[in-house]
Subunit: 306 residues, 2 copies
């Protein structure tokens, strides 16, 4: 059975682990702090690779950024990684075949091969965290687009008329409403405009200090303000999921990321299926854990080279 | 060279023509009125097929409705076609191989193989008419989804908060704003709310009688109301195109349908490319004509059977 060294490159940590071709870990996951300088980062990659190169068949990277169609380079800017990161030709880092994939795509692939979407040839994986990312499987293949940048589902437009500025400098991206950050922004806006806030258990808090956990706790205490904030967020989330369902007619939509725990899945699934023009979907919670990107990149490296 | 009899089934007309495997017409296009009864429609199909069956290799149908993954049956309801239409097994209509595709998908395929999107492995064809339809090509293949219903891009949601009811009974579908019907609805709404309407050249018209052509003529006469209506429609159109671009990272978006003539392509292309997080697209006017569905179905029937 083939072995793959998989390296997950994040802005704060670089993790690595050896997997077999089924995606089963053959070692502990090891972690390093991400170097701030590009030379140090390349040295770290070389060090990790040299430790395993002889015993593995392929090297895989899961990383932020848009990946070229040859799966050898990062082509976009990557603000959380060192300057020059998109100059690295990963294929030159080892004599073994090297395969690079975007971390959200890689995690989606893991979910499709081993997680909640097993057997679903058409599925959309939505990562709901501080932002919204995603990966899309069509007929058992990753959607990559002309330049490897496809599946930027966080940038679906939720309103056409310029209301909320997004971190990407555009307006009204889905992620500026339906992510964790979006929920906080909605909490702040409604604290400033809703009459219910004056009676809320959070009435003495600064609007910009109200957190997702405050809102979720508030619902349990039947706090009208918290309920309105959550319903508004839930509706923003619903809207994008309806669009994705009508576009892809997928078997499932899988929610991963930290915000997944706050979703009422069966309620949201019913709402989606009551508002679409394609056939019904399943709305599922992701099964893969934090190592999804690493596992998915390992599986992809195997698939592409076998 | 192979020959394909292609039949386009619409609510008012049934057209047919024989093509070669390159999509070149080998006969005049013949048209019949669409029968109202299912038995008469099946008889008409059989009559057309029997006239050409011996001299062609394949039979193709382009039709409204969602098509099953085997391309033999219509699986959705088709309000403009006779009751029982989705019971027809098209594969039983001829001894030659029969291939059925949704008319918007077939037209998109023609645009990809012979029209504005030639060479674009990833492209989105948007049909802007009284409604919005479309077809999507990914890696040179039609996006069909789990049940053949994918690419319902007219049902992308433009607002999350229930403003305008769509003909599909849901709210705020893109097509209820960015189609021809959508432009008319916007003209009516703004006639009732915009102060500029009182000074407009259309001030004596009933708001619901203002047409797309009125608005386009009004712009030429520098009518402020007409300009605001058009800008609003243009912005609604832009919003959906941005979402599609961020999702698919396509090489191009091709606009077909009657509303295409009103679009300022280079302005709209710049606006899209200035508001996306993927790499730039080309915005193109469709080259194929009314027979696009018939041509595309013929080409698909050849591809699938060759």
């Amino acid at each position: 059975m083939k072995k793959i060294l998989s390296i997950d490159v994040g802005g704060t940590k670089i993790s690595h682990c050896v997997f077999n071709e089924k995606g089963e870990a053959l070692s502990e996951i090891k972690k390093h702090s991400s170097p701030k300088k590009i030379e140090e980062m390349i040295d770290l990659f070389k060090k990790i690779i040299s430790e395993h190169e002889k015993s593995v068949d392929y090297i895989a990277f899961a990383t932020a950024g848009a990946i070229n169609l040859q799966n050898t380079k990062v082509e976009s800017s990557t603000p959380n990684l060192p300057n020059g990161y998109n100059k690295i030709d990963f294929s030159l880092l080892s004599e073994k075949p090297v395969f690079v994939e975007n971390d959200a795509n890689a995690a989606a692939w893991a979910e499709y091969k081993l997680g909640a979407a097993v057997g679903h040839q058409n599925t959309v994986i939505v990562t709901l965290g501080t932002g919204i990312g995603g990966g899309i499987i069509i007929n058992g293949e990753l959607l990559r687009g002309k330049s490897g940048r496809a599946a930027e589902i966080g940038s679906i437009k939720l309103f056409p008329d310029k209301r909320r500025k997004c971190t990407c400098n555009n307006y009204d991206c889905w992620e500026s409403y339906a992510s964790g950050t979006g929920l906080k922004t909605t909490a702040k806006e409604l604290a400033e405009s809703l009459i219910e806030f004056k009676e809320s258990i959070y009435k003495n808090k600064q609007p910009n200090e109200i957190t997702t956990h405050d809102i979720v706790s508030g619902i349990k205490e039947n706090d009208s303000y918290s309920i309105k904030v959550f319903d508004c967020w839930h509706n923003h989330l619903l809207s994008g999921l309806i669009s994705l369902t009508n576009i892809f007619d997928p078997e499932s939509i899988v929610i991963s990321g930290g915000m997944g725990e706050f979703i009422r899945f069966s309620e949201l699934e019913s709402e989606i299926n009551g508002s679409i023009v394609v056939s019904p979907i399943k709305l599922l919670l992701a099964k893969m854990k934090n190592d999804a990107g690493m596992v998915g990149a390992a599986l992809l490296a195997y698939e592409k080279n076998k």
